[in-house]
Structure formats: structure tokens, C-alpha cells
Amino acid sequence: MSLYSAPPNDSSKPLIRLDDLHVRFGQQRVLRGINLDVPRGQTLAVIGESGCGKTVLLKTIIGLVRPTSGTVYFDGRDLASLKQDDLATTRTRFGFVFQQAALFDSLTIGQNVAFPLRRHTDYTEDEIREIVVMRLAEVGLPASVVQKKPAELSGGMRKRVGLARALAMEPEVVLYDEPTTGLDPIMSDVINELILNTRRHHPVAGIVVTHDMRTAQKVADRVVMLYPLARLRDDEPQMLYDGPPSEIEQAPDPRVSQFVRGEARERLMELRTQNGS
């Protein structure tokens, strides 16, 4: 069941383009001079340590965070120039999988997955019910969860419901915010497989924010690594790596290989200095 006729598909243009993006909260700078193109159909993993601005980047792409300067283009249109209604319509072309799933507690699982369908489509209740069951089946959940409340499900199941809800409107791009954080290794792999499965079944672009290298290696066509601005000099770029996941271990910048291998190195010394030991 398809919700939308395909949008004008000019494959030469990137679906998402970030042009000299800066984000600052008060005195705290989070993103500096980010330039990034994401073509249709590509799955990009954004990696980096905690506090480097990965989630802010994701939220800026969908317009939840306003850039201090610079532009976010989606399908060639500047998000900042869109009127409220146009922005709301544009957002239906995105799916967003939140870190803790962000399911609405007061609604059942079925109502959660049906939420965007009820707001933005003219489907009958029967059709909506059919789509909800189908989307839940795609993420491996039985129809019996429809009547349950989010609090009754495990963390992994909630994440899968979050993915089903993100896919409900058949988006053109799915944004994943740390999809495997807080899950056991088996459930993490299940989520990774679901991300791959999503791409197999729907021609979507994906941006996966993660600090889990296994996820990045498994699901991404391309990896970008961000570094916290507090640890950078003013003349250094914030994006330390932009390339295929297979070559990230051979990256010339030692900070990239340090992150990929998960080595503390000088950070231990910093901690000891801070603690005065």
C-alpha cells in the first residue's frame, strides 16, 4: 500500500545537503562549518564520541533545531524558508527513530504507529489498522501488541515500534538516533538487520547516528566522524573522516583509529589530572 506518488526524482541532486552549518546553544558551540551531501538511497553513519553533536546534527536536518548559520536543503529546498504547513508536510517525508523510541505513553502501540497516518492521510480506520499490523510485522512484532501500552514492552520492542512508526508514512529518508544504545548484543544485531531490511524493502536514504562501530560497519555505505569542538583547534575541521566503512581503520588521522578501536590513550591521563591523582 503506497501513500504517496513518487516525488520528482532528480538523482543527480543530493536528497539532503548541509551547507556550512553552524549550531550554537548560548555560549556552547556544537557544530561548526559542516558541509555534507546525502544522496538518495545511501545509508550514512555519523559516528563520534558523546557530546560531539551527532544528535544535534540529526535534529537540525529535520528542523527540530535551528542552525545558528548555514543552510539545510531537503530535496533542493531550504528548510528555513518553508512555511509552518510546508515544513510539517516535508517532515512526513522523514522518519525519525528516537534514541529511547519516544513513543507516546498515553497511546497504545497501535495508536502510536497509526499517529502519522491519522494526521496526514485520508485512510479509513480499517486501512490504517491493516497498515499498522503490516508495519509491526515488518519489524517482527505480532498484531497482539497493538492494544498494549509502551510501558508494557521491553526496550528492544519499543525501539522496534519506534522504527515501525517511523516507516508508517513510507518516508524517503529515515533518521536513526543511536538505534542500538542500551540494547543487548543480540537485540542490537536485530535492529541492525531491520535497518538493512528497511533499505531492501523501501528505497530510502538513511542517516544513522551511533557510537557503536558494529552498527556503522554493518549498515552504512559511508561513514562520517565528528569530533567534539572543545577538543579541536579553531582551524581544524570538525569532520575527521568521510569515506567508506571498510577504510576507516586505515584513516590517517590517529583520532579516528583511536575511536574505532575504542582506546582511551591520553584521556586516562586527562582524567587523572582532573582528579588530581
Binding site: 553552524h22 558551540r29 529535520i62 509552518q84 517532515r91 528516537f98 534514541q99 499517529f115 502519522p116 512508526r165
Partner: protein, 295 residues
């Protein structure tokens, strides 16, 4: 074009002399004061924007299906018992407090006028609103604050729904529509409580008690109480929702949002009560130039 240069912070005057220390102390004091004023102005501006956005969505689009009735149930039906109980006890307390004074003057039957006038004009609306601020305003701040902290409000936006339209408008509308009904309940139960204590327990003559009430308590008094309650209801909903929307992260943030929602709502109720009392007194004098209210 990089425009993200942070403003340069003020540097203290160097040296350990008296003038340097005095200069630094004065500068710090001015900076602290400036920060407080700045924060207050920003909060007021943010609140004004929030109110405008709520009113805009209220006028522009009907609330989402299925959001208004649950809000009405939460705000109206579930608040009814506590508001009614408050009304009864305030009516009885008024009777207890005023009896001794009126008895000394031999004017016990005038108590009906004073109790009922105080109830419909002031105590009914203010106490119903205070109960609502405690029960509903804090709950709104805590619920929306938890939604903010757990990214549910971001999820709404990400799915193309406007959070103010989906979350704030139904709560605002329910508060606005139901607070006059709750105030009427508080008034009625207060009148019943006052009469029960005065007539039933203090043996005051019921005919004169009610006759004095009828003589002094007019429709304008009832109207002025209900009119004020509309503003109280709007303030409670807007402050509760705004606190929730601007909640700081974590459990502590949610707790602070709930507490500050009640405190700010209570201050707003008292402030609005004073302003509206002055305004309504002017209107009363304008309509009945020779009239003077009993209380």
C-alpha cells in the same frame, strides 16, 4: 560565513587594591542584576510568544479529534470533588470566623450577605483556581515536561504535528471552558456549607439569613467572580504548559517544572485578582453610580 563568535566575557580588573576590589564587586553586582533582568525579560517574551502561538492555533484550527474530551475529563470531572470540598469548608470557616463579631453587634442574620458575597466575588473563584493550579497546573507541567525530556514533543514535531496545537490547545480550551463551572460548584458548595453551619449549627434565623443574602448579593457579584475565573483558568493552562515545554532535562527538571508551575500560577492568580477587582469595581461604579458594595 561563520557568525558563531561568542560574545567576549567581562574581565575583572587586575590587582588587589581597594579600588580594584570595589570596582570588581560593583561590576559583579551589576552583572548579576543584569542577568536576572535579562532572564526575566527573556522568560516573559517566551511566555508571550507561547501565548500568541496558543491563541493562533486555537483560532486557526480545531483541536485534534480525541484530545479535547480527555483534557476536559482530567481538568473538569476529576477536579470536581476537591473543588466542592474546598467550597464547603471555606463556607463553614467563614461562618465560624464571622459569627463572634456579628453576634456582638446583634447582626447575625447579616452573616448570609457577608459569607455569600465573599464566596461568589472572591473566595470561590480564587480558591477554585488555586485548587486547579495545584491539581491540574502542576500535572500539566509534569506530564508535558516528561514528554519534553523523553523526546515525545520532538517526536510530535518530527511527524508533522504541531505540539502546541496537539498538546496545549485542548488543555487551554478545557481549562477556559470548565473553570467557570468549577467556580460555580465552589460557590454553591460554599453557600451550602456557610448556611449549614450558620443555620443548622448556630441557629441563625434562616428567613433573614437568606433574605439578607438575596438583598446584597446580586447577579453582578456572581458574574464578576465567573469573569475573573476565565482569566485564572487561562493563566493556569498557559503557565502549566509553558513550564512543561521549557522543562530542564532529568527528573529534577520535571520536578522543578511542576513546582514552578504551581507557584507562578498562584502568583498570577493573585495578581490578576487584584487587577480584575479594580477593573470590576470601576465597572460597578460606572453602571450603578450611587451603589456601594457591602464588602
Amino acid at each position: 560565513m561563520a557568525t558563531d563568535a561568542a560574545p567576549t566575557p567581562w574581565k575583572p580588573v587586575e590587582g588587589n587594591g581597594l579600588s580594584a576590589r570595589l570596582m570588581n564587586w560593583v561590576a559583579n553586582w551589576i552583572a548579576d542584576l543584569g542577568e536576572i533582568v535579562n532572564t526575566m525579560i527573556l522568560a516573559l517574551g517566551d511566555m508571550a510568544n507561547f501565548t500568541m502561538a496558543t491563541l493562533w492555533w486555537l483560532v486557526m484550527r480545531r483541536p485534534y479529534r480525541g484530545t479535547l474530551l480527555p483534557s476536559c475529563y482530567q481538568i473538569g470531572v476529576l477536579s470536581l470533588p476537591v473543588v466542592a470540598l474546598t467550597g464547603v469548608f471555606i463556607g463553614m470557616v467563614l461562618a465560624v470566623q464571622s459569627y463572634a463579631q456579628f453576634r456582638m453587634l446583634g447582626m447575625e442574620t447579616r452573616m448570609g450577605a457577608v459569607i455569600n458575597m465573599s464566596l461568589v466575588r472572591e473566595l470561590g473563584p480564587v480558591l477554585a483556581a488555586t485548587m486547579l493550579a495545584g491539581r491540574v497546573g502542576s500535572a500539566m507541567a509534569a506530564e508535558l515536561g516528561t514528554m519534553r525530556v523523553t523526546e515525545q514533543i520532538d517526536a510530535l514535531s518530527a511527524m508533522g504535528a504541531n505540539p502546541i496545537h496537539y498538546l496545549v490547545v485542548p488543555r487551554f480550551l478545557a481549562c477556559l471552558v470548565l473553570i467557570p463551572a468549577l467556580t460555580t460548584t465552589a460557590d454553591f458548595m460554599g453557600v451550602v456549607g456557610g448556611a449549614f453551619y450558620s443555620i443548622g449549627l448556630l441557629d441563625i434565623d434562616s428567613h433573614h439569613y437568606w433574605e439578607n443574602s438575596r438583598q446584597f448579593v446580586g447577579l453582578f457579584d456572581l458574574f464578576s467572580g465567573l469573569f475573573k475565573s476565565l482569566f485564572f483558568g487561562a493563566a493556569i493552562a498557559l503557565i502549566g504548559c509553558h513550564r512543561g515545554f521549557t522543562c530542564d532535562p532529568g527528573a529534577e527538571g520535571v520536578g522543578k517544572a511542576a513546582t514552578s508551575a504551581f507557584v507562578l500560577s498562584f502568583v498570577a492568580i493573585l495578581f490578576l485578582d487584584l487587577l480584575l477587582a479594580i477593573l470590576l469595581e470601576q465597572v460597578y461604579v460606572l453602571i450603578w453610580p450611587g451603589g456601594a458594595s457591602l464588602v
